[in-house]
Structure formats: structure tokens, C-alpha cells
Amino acid sequence: MRMDVDMIFKIAAVGILVSVLNQVLIRSGREEQAMMTTLTGLVIVLFMVIQLIDKLFTTVKTLFQLY
């Protein structure tokens, strides 16, 4: 359960980092790399969120006997 709560802070950290990197890269005129950074951040977060969603669905399935 601890890990699920930690994931919120992880996502917030990734989001803040990505948006700072994005601004720095755009200021220095590297729009393509800024786009790549955004995409990478989104994919990293998606991987974490998918695992949690799978956990939630499995839990609900076993709890409410939805097979």
C-alpha cells in the first residue's frame, strides 16, 4: 500500500522535472528534444500507472467475484 501512495509523488516529480526540462530545451531552441522529453516522461508514468490499474482491477475482480 505504501508503494501506491509513493507513486503519486513519483508522478508529480516526473511531471515537474519534465516541464522544467521542456522549458529549458525550448529556450535553447531544441524543440524536437523537448518533445522527446515530454513523450519519455509520459511513457514512464504510463508504465507505472498501468501496473497500478492492473492491481486495482484484479483486486476488484477477486473481491466482488467478477470472473
Binding site: D4, I11, A12, N22, L42, L63
Partner: protein
């Protein structure tokens, strides 16, 4: 008290979500999803206790297990449907949310058919 933990968690998550909403809305939505899942998983032990209690009561009054299972299934479907629909609505996609809710309603209707048929059978048995 666990409720203070949950409210604190929700407030912090809301602040992060609002912080990211201007710059990275896709990550703000994911924070919403994770918060919802985390709060549900924090409550899982209590929910399973309630479900066990319901099953024990059903056993005591000799209720057919099919009925209780159906009710539990409906609760599960309703919960997952609401969860998905609210996430879609938060992201501003009310149309997709409405479709998700529609699918959930149909699933629940299909599940209730056996109970409806049982009621009909009883009624037909009463009428000579």
C-alpha cells in the same frame, strides 16, 4: 484515524494535480487515476470485512448464494464503471464517459436477468 491519512493524501494529490494541470495535463490525469486506485487499495481490508459480514448474514438467513453473488458483482461493475467514467470526465471527455456508463448499465442489466426470471417464476407459481 485512517480518514485523516486519506484526506491528507487527497489534498496533496489535488495540489500536485493543479500544479501540473497547466503545463502537463496528461500527467495531472494520471495523478488522479493513481490517487483513486491508492485510496481504494487502502480501504481494501475494510471492504473485504464488510463483504465477509454480508456473506455471513446471508448464510444465517439461508439466502441463496446466487443472489448475494449477483449483488456483489453489480457493486463491483458499478464501482469500476464510475471510476473509469470519472477519469474520462476529469479529462474533459464527457462523451467517452457517457459511453462507459452506458456499457456498465447494460452489463448490470444482463446480470439482473436471472433474478428477474426467478421473481417471474414465483409470481407465475402464485397465480393458479
Amino acid at each position: 484515524m485512517e480518514i485523516f491519512q486519506i484526506v491528507g493524501l487527497a489534498l496533496v494529490a489535488t495540489i500536485f494535480s493543479v500544479l501540473l494541470r497547466n503545463d502537463k495535463p496528461e500527467l495531472a490525469i494520471q495523478i488522479g487515476i493513481v490517487t483513486g486506485a491508492a485510496i481504494f487499495l487502502l480501504m481494501i481490508f475494510k471492504i473485504s470485512a464488510v463483504v465477509t459480514l454480508l456473506q455471513e448474514i446471508a448464510k444465517k438467513v439461508n439466502l441463496d448464494t446466487v443472489y448475494l453473488t449477483t449483488v456483489l458483482k453489480i457493486i463491483g461493475i458499478a464501482y469500476i464503471t464510475t471510476f473509469g467514467a470519472e477519469v474520462c470526465r476529469d479529462a474533459g471527455e464527457s462523451a467517452i464517459a457517457a459511453k462507459v456508463e452506458f456499457a456498465g448499465k447494460i452489463m448490470i442489466m444482463v446480470l439482473t436477468v436471472p433474478i428477474l426470471m426467478a421473481v417471474l417464476d414465483i409470481m407465475l407459481g402464485i397465480i393458479p
